[in-house]
């Protein structure tokens, strides 16, 4: 009812200092929730891209295979030794978050590059990959299809152009950024099926196709550890389960940073939940005091015919108006804080070449709406119980200032 809503609004104006403090407290809480949620999601996205770009935590290859370990990137080197493509799926090892199988074969006279240049053809499973596609700097605006290839940064060909490999046409689907690792730079990446289809044209040491191009064989696995797992634990689990493999560890500092950041984000989430709960509690206490102070007025409203729902509705409306306004103010404050963050830390990270990916606008708008809705919810929940209790009292008790 408009008159009760207007009464609720005017009641807020009656105690300006108290209303201001309530709005300020909710603004801080919802600002923290909005900024926290946005930054967390942004950091999460940046981590997803940034850390996967930094490669896997471990690499599992056949015993005797060559490996190329750089400070930040594990890369399988071409070899005739192979592993079972489903080895990890069958083993279900503890401490392993993801394992991406790869096939790699080094070929000459493939038609890629100059006549005598060798090229690394790398097959991967798009459904399991987490080390190649994060490097995509440009790609066609559709999903990857059979016959599509992704070129390493060292190979120049326009997107969508045709590339002949052993005389067979392939479409350039995407291009990777510079990684500074030969295999990545020179490589031509494609799905397992696309690579296996080239088998008749590729000759290994025995004259026939190399074993890695047979279905079910892979050159190795790139492995990401589960949160909390250490490389040592994972290495032990892998070696005790899979036979004839070698486990190569990357830079453990990076795994540590990633796991640490994940724990930090969990901690921030817990703090946000606590802040939400404590603000709801504070609103509840404040509205208990407001209800106690206005018992006479509520009693009067009941005496002249206000129903319980109208009393509760008025108090909840009053709280929602204040906390909703606080929530909107918090979003504005959050945007200002993030602008500041962008000008300082994000700018610094980007100067260092560390990508920081903000949430896209629709999701950021959804987070803003979510923060305001959450603030309204805090108000509604905080005021509901005291209002409900007051609405149960006899009007005469309220008018006399009892209860």
């Amino acid at each position: 009812m408009r008159l009760l809503a207007s009464l609720a609004l005017q009641n807020l104006g009656r105690r300006k200092a108290r209303s201001f403090l309530l709005v300020a407290a909710v603004a801080v809480a919802s600002g923290v929730v909005f900024t926290g949620a946005t930054l967390m999601r942004s950091i999460d996205r940046s981590m997803a891209v940034g850390f996967t770009r930094l490669g896997a935590d471990l690499m599992v290859v056949p015993e005797g295979a060559l490996t190329n370990i750089t400070a930040a990137l594990l890369v399988v080197e071409p070899t005739d030794l192979v592993l079972d493509r489903d080895a990890f799926a069958k083993a279900r090892l503890a401490g392993i978050a993801r394992a991406a199988p790869q096939k790699i074969v080094r070929v000459e006279h493939s038609g890629v590059g100059s006549h005598h240049e060798s090229a690394d053809l790398i097959g991967f499973d798009p459904a399991l990959d987490f080390t190649i596609r994060p490097w995509l700097v440009e790609k066609l605006n559709r999903g990857m299809r059979p016959g599509d290839v992704i070129l390493g940064a060292g190979r120049a060909a326009p997107l969508g152009s045709e590339l002949l490999i052993f005389g067979k046409p392939h479409l350039v689907y995407g291009r990777l950024g510079r990684a500074g690792v030969g295999t990545h730079e020179r490589g031509v990446f494609m799905s397992f099926d696309t690579l296996e289809a080239l088998a008749p044209s590729v000759h290994g040491h025995g004259g026939g196709p190399p074993p890695v191009l047979q279905k079910g064989n892979v050159s190795g696995f790139l492995v990401e550890l589960a949160p909390g797992a250490t490389p040592l634990q994972a290495r032990f689990a892998i070696l005790s389960t899979l036979k004839g493999v070698k486990v190569v560890a990357g830079d453990s500092t990076l795994s540590g940073i990633r796991q640490g950041l994940e724990a930090l984000l969990d901690g921030i989430l817990a703090l946000m939940v606590l802040m939400f709960a404590s603000t709801a509690l504070m609103v509840c206490v404040l509205f208990s005091a407001i209800v106690a102070e206005r018992r006479g007025e509520l009693g009067l409203l009941k005496a002249i015919g206000a129903r319980r729902g109208q009393i509760v509705g008025m108090m909840v409306t009053e709280a929602v108006l204040a906390t909703g306004f606080g929530g909107a103010l918090g979003v504005v404050l959050g945007v200002l804080v993030m602008r500041l963050y962008e000008r300082s830390l994000v700018h610094y990270l980007e100067k260092l070449g560390v990508p920081f990916l903000w949430l896209d606008l629709p999701r950021m708008a959804a987070a803003a709406v979510g923060a305001v809705v959450l603030a309204c919810l805090i108000g509604a929940l905080g005021a509901l119980y005291p209002a409900w209790r007051a609405s149960r009292r006899d009007p005469y008790d309220l008018v006399r200032g009892e209860g």
Partner: protein, 222 residues
């Protein structure tokens, strides 16, 4: 017709149970002016609160025009108060953040008794009858105590109730204003045929009543 049967109100205190109203039977005919008199603490305000549906009796019944009001569900009782009973309290009972017109219109708005424009027209007419036609937009703090009390009477009449309950309506007013307010209340009783029940400890005010109920220690003594 208002009937009270065996009406009791007991309060539990640290020193034991206290009976504020102790088994009162009372009949007030429709359109009558009745005065409930007694000393402070005699139980007259508690009796009025039970009659008005404001305070649940510990025992007994209140029957207004055949309806046992305390057998009604809570929202039904709220609707009953809204439509059948007008209150004039012993304190300034206007909401300070609403204008006089809003205060007077409030019971009708709460009970959804007509379109807002109709309700406000009725509120303006009532305030005009109370001599406050030029103060519709004034806030309670901007008018005198007597004017506030007149606005309260207008609010009590907005839903054309069968009964007006006035609990010490002039206790904080000067003598002249007291006379004016009582004149307004008596006019309501005589001109509209509204049952008026006045609670007072002022015997002079009670002298004009058609029925006087004297309460002492929670019981009717005369």
């Amino acid at each position: 017709m208002l009937q009270c049967r065996g009406l009791c109100k007991r309060y539990v205190t640290e020193r034991g149970t206290v009976a504020a109203v102790d088994g009162i039977d009372l009949d007030v005919a429709t359109g009558r002016y009745a005065a409930i008199i007694g000393r402070s603490g005699s139980g007259k305000s508690s009796l009025m609160a039970m009659i008005g549906g404001l305070s649940r009796p510990t025992d007994g019944r209140v029957i207004v025009d055949g309806t046992d009001i305390w057998s009604l569900a809570e929202d039904e009782l709220a609707a009953f108060r809204n439509g059948h009973i007008g209150f004039v309290f012993q304190f300034a009972s206007l909401l300070p953040t609403l204008r006089l017109a809003d205060n007077v219109a409030l019971p009708a708005m709460l009970g959804r008794r007509g379109a807002p424009s109709e309700i406000y027209a009725r509120a303006a007419r009532l305030l005009g009858q109370m001599g406050l036609g030029d103060r519709l937009d004034a806030y309670p703090s901007e008018v005198s105590a007597g004017e506030q009390r007149r606005a309260v009477i207008a609010r009590a009449l907005i839903n054309e109730p069968a009964i007006v309950l006035a609990d010490e309506p002039t206790s904080d007013l000067d003598e002249q204003t007291e006379i004016e307010i009582m004149d307004e209340l008596l006019a309501v009783n005589r001109e509209r045929g509204t049952t008026l029940i006045l609670v007072t400890h002022n015997l002079a005010l009670a002298e004009q009543a058609e029925q006087i109920v004297h309460i002492a220690r929670g019981a009717v003594v005369a």
